[in-house]
Amino acid sequence: MDTRQELLVQKKREHETREETTIPARVFLPIADIFESRDALTVILEMPGVEKSNVDVRVEDGVLSVQGRLDLSKYQGLQPLYTEYNIGHYARSFQLSSKIDQTKISAELQDGVLSLNLPKIEEAKPRTIQVK
């Protein structure tokens, strides 16, 4: 059998908050991957079309929130002929465990993929205990 896997389109889920937005655009949840290694947690978010300067990452009360604003002015003057996906801003937040060193979080955006590196605090790292 053919081993290659065809990619399927993932439907965009809309971001839901208790507060309503006051901007005339839709907000979607970026698709995310989360990994944990020995000394860090990695969060990868797909936000196609978002420029580096329009990404906002902040940590408040142990909640990591990521916002990506799309430059909708690029779509001005374009007349849609055929559409398959919706465009909008991106927002998603994650509850952080206390194990994360919140001052050392770093972020990198490449080709619409935002990678967040959340290092663990020293006490939370696994260690081997010497048996005497």
């Binding site: 896997q5 065809e6 389109v9 290694s37 020995r38 936000m47 002929l81 398959e84 993929v113």
Partner: protein, 140 residues
């Protein structure tokens, strides 16, 4: 012989996907190999020309091929995700191969086609051929 599947559900889904792709494929046509639904495409008109905007986050430019023939554009490539070592808590992103053909109901100028990939979005500038453009007729 016992075949070991890493994930029986994965194997089943792959089989189903392959079967569906077979029934949907137009293999009699020799232009392109398949018409997958990925990546999603939006088509806009700007003036006389056509602009196709395709969301393709996290693709290496070298892994992306764009071919144009008459009024048909083929976008194919591969999305690779390098998973680091460690445990995985959430996995929503997908990787794999894609191959999609877009046929436009207008004639294109194949030499004028430009592609731009920035911030995970592929923009294809598809100029209409001069022959296809409407022209004003002077009343004498």
């Amino acid at each position: 012989m016992v075949t070991a599947f890493a994930d029986p559900f994965d194997a089943l889904f792959n089989l189903q996907r392959a079967l569906e792709a077979r029934t949907a494929s137009d293999w009699l046509q020799n232009q392109t190999t398949s018409q997958g639904p990925f990546p999603p495409i939006n088509v806009f008109q700007r003036g006389d020309d056509i602009l196709a905007i395709i969301e393709l986050p996290g693709i290496d430019k070298d892994q992306l091929q764009i071919e144009a023939k008459e009024n048909t554009i083929r976008i194919s490539g591969r999305k690779v995700i390098a998973y680091p070592e460690g445990s995985m808590h959430r996995r929503e992103r997908v990787s794999g191969e894609f191959d999609r053909t877009l046929s436009l109901p207008v004639r294109l100028d194949p030499d004028g086609i430009r592609a731009e990939y920035r911030d995970g979005v592929l923009a294809l500038f598809l100029p209409r051929s001069e022959r296809d453009k409407p022209r004003t007729i002077q009343i004498s």
